[in-house]
């Protein structure tokens, strides 16, 4: 299927003169150090990793046609699962008046909140890249997008499902029991060949940005099923069928951004115990003080509450949690910024802490530092399996 998309997209490569074409690339080197010994002796105390990502695009036909090609690759010192390649994008776009037709592999983002992305469901998370879920795998699709006076409509047909990535045996930030990624189970008999579909309406009405979405297809988040085979215990990813209704809204007033995302889900599968239907929401505000103490520095405060109706073993990490974050933006020539975030579970008191800092070095390079801590975990809490995986990371990126 992927190959077929490749062939279609390549066949549509332009023959006319180049109206606009561009190529860019980035190479990064990442060093991670873990503060504690790993739970499993096969895991390592530190890790080096390197990535390459390139983007080529070309516009022609009065900018009514575009092709984009974005390959990505990582080579990891220890984790063979983290060494992976992906086509982040490879698509062709044709514009007819107010309608865009897309064929190929794309990345789509839906939503407004900062600490959790509930509504965003088109792309699978490339969680092996970073546990924050901001990295996504390219999703093959045929998509139509139509702009009207009463909002934008987008329809997506997705003929190929992408499985979530997880750390391998030697990788960190994984449960003590290895996730058997080669034997994923699907509720759908068509497995990853099932065609998923989604429809979204979004609109801007004065100070409101609103989106409504419907998704029907394979849940991007697998349930992990404990399984013992020939005396070897593994966690098996099980991808259920999901219907999801989503709403996202942001109200912008002066220095305030008020944000809400909420979903209603229906799972229908053999592993479900008491839940077929569930609800989740994340909402809160972001406020920025500009020009702190007569300087150019801005300080932003984010506070979001995360709720999920699923309880017990099925409860996700963000089920009754509050996330508080602060971003310091120096507005200097090097774009220096610092970000601190604490997410606390209100029932179980476990805490996730993230600290990030970034700065440009010269013209074509940037550096960032990231530290993450999992604290107050107990055998009953969701982050327990990551209890010894606190880490600090240094990332250097060179742009071309």
């Amino acid at each position: 299927m992927l190959n077929r998309f490749l062939i279609i997209s390549l066949a549509l490569l332009p023959l006319g003169p180049l109206d606009a074409a561009d190529w860019s690339a980035e190479i990064s080197i990442e060093a991670r150090h873990f503060f504690n010994d790993a739970l499993n002796p096969q895991q390592h105390g530190s890790n080096l990793s390197t990535t390459f990502e390139s983007e080529f695009y070309h516009d022609w036909d009065d900018d009514n046609q575009r092709i984009v090609f974005t390959p990505f690759a990582r080579i990891d010192q220890h984790d063979s699962e983290r060494s992976h390649v992906d086509l982040r994008e490879l698509y062709w776009r044709r514009t007819f008046n107010n309608t865009d037709l897309y064929i190929g592999i794309r990345k789509i983002f839906w939503g407004v909140t900062e600490s959790l992305h509930l509504v965003d469901i088109i792309n699978q998370s490339d969680t092996i890249e970073n546990i924050d879920g901001e990295d996504k795998l390219g999703q093959p699709m045929l998509s139509l997008s139509h702009a009207t006076e009463l909002g934008d409509w987008s329809l997506y047909l997705m003929p190929w499902f992408r499985e979530r990535t997880f750390a391998g045996i030697e990788g960190r930030l994984r449960p003590p029991i290895v996730i058997d990624q080669d034997n994923a189970q699907f509720e759908s008999g068509d497995e990853e060949r099932q065609v998923d579909s989604a429809l979204r309406w979004s609109h801007v009405i004065d100070d409101w940005d609103i989106g409504l979405s419907i998704f029907h297809g394979t849940d991007r988040t697998p349930q992990l099923i404990l399984q013992t085979n020939n005396g070897v215990t593994t966690l098996l990813p099980y991808y259920a069928q999901l219907d999801q209704l989503g709403l996202d809204a942001q109200y912008t007033y002066e220095s305030w951004l008020w944000k809400l995302e909420t979903v209603a889900r229906r799972h229908d599968n053999r592993f479900s115990l008491n839940f077929n239907r569930s609800k989740a929401a994340v909402g809160g505000f972001e406020y920025t003080w500009y020009g702190l103490f007569d300087s150019a520095t801005d300080i932003g405060l984010v506070m979001e509450y995360q709720y999920d109706s699923r309880e017990g073993k099925r409860a996700p990490i963000a089920n009754n949690d509050i996330a508080i974050g602060s971003r310091l933006t120096f507005n200097d020539a090097q774009d220096t910024s610092l970000l601190a975030l604490v997410a606390s579970d209100l029932d179980q008191r476990e805490r996730f802490i993230s600290l990030e800092g970034s700065r440009r070095l010269g013209g074509d390079m940037s550096a960032s530092i990231e530290a993450r801590f999992f604290s107050n975990t107990t055998p009953q809490t969701q982050l327990y399996s990551l209890r010894d995986d606190d880490y600090i990371e240094l990332l250097l990126t060179q742009y071309f």
Binding site: R66, Q250, T252, E254, T288, A296, D298, D335, D364
Partner: protein, 267 residues
């Protein structure tokens, strides 16, 4: 009768002697003249329809070290409101592909969105940040956003001739209390109503920055644009030079090219 005569004699005397009264009569005239100059400046730039250009920014710190930014912009003139603007960032390379959409308004806060290409995400952002620096430069957001007559109150100061041109000098005071400036002094040439120089005074009324315009060209026989704008910050010793290129007017842009959706496709 007698009283009336006395008053008839005294009144003109009083008017001359009491500085308050004399001031207010003259002041009204100065305010009126200031507004007239600003209105004429604005009028001469009306009707451009739309425009596009590219821009190189050179940021210089007090040690003389420089860093560059390249961006492109498209502007759509909106009748009875502020312009719609899209800015696309080409360098620094780590922000390449970032795009910014603004619906500027005369007095209301602007509506602004930012497209983050790595996440493919469009974020609506708060637009209160008028006084903050644009891309780490010496230009504040309010310096580069669309200039509307309603954003200031005016006063004519005097005439001044330099570089062989006759100028009006007007003072303009920002209406918005969130502006970073108490006042600005603007040099406008009498022949074509082009701005040649602006002195910016901070909230404490000390001279903060000077912006000078150079190398004006006229487009489609009406609209003047400076190719070079240099902002010097007197308090920090830093400066920013804007080198404008590729001005193009009346490209036939329409409002569908200035939406959240089009921001995601901007290149």
């Amino acid at each position: 009768m007698f009283n009336n005569k006395i008053y008839a004699l005294i009144l003109p005397l009083l008017t001359m002697l009491l500085p308050g009264t004399a001031f207010s009569t003259d002041d009204a005239a100065l305010v009126k003249k200031g507004l007239e100059i600003a209105t004429e400046t604005d009028l001469r730039d009306k009707g451009f329809g739309d425009s596009s250009s590219s821009l190189e920014m050179v940021l210089r710190n007090r040690h003389g070290e420089t860093s560059e930014r390249q961006l492109r912009n498209k502007t759509l003139e909106v009748a009875n409101d502020g312009d719609k603007v899209i800015i696309i960032f080409d360098t620094p390379k780590d922000v390449k592909g970032t795009a910014f959409l603004s619906f500027t308004h005369k007095l209301e806060p602007d509506d602004q969105w930012l497209y983050l290409p790595a996440l493919k995400r469009v974020k609506r952002i708060a637009s209160r940040n008028k006084a903050g620096p644009f891309m780490g430069s010496e230009f504040a957001y309010e310096d580069i956003s669309s200039q509307e007559v309603e954003k200031y109150s005016y006063r004519y100061i005097k005439d001044e001739t330099f570089d062989g041109r006759d100028h009006f000098i007007i003072e303009r005071d920002p209406v918005d209390p969130r502006s970073g400036y108490k006042r600005q002094q603007v040099w406008i040439d009498k022949a074509e109503y082009r701005i040649w120089k602006i002195d910016f005074y901070d909230r404490k009324d000390s001279l903060l920055k000077t912006l000078s315009y150079n190398d004006y060209n006229q487009y489609i026989e009406k609209f003047w644009r400076a190719n070079i704008m240099k902002m010097i910050n007197h308090q920090t010793g830093k400066s920013t030079v804007l080198n404008w290129k590729d001005f193009s007017f009346q490209n036939g842009f329409n409002k569908n090219e200035f939406t959240k959706k089009s921001l995601k496709k901007a290149r």
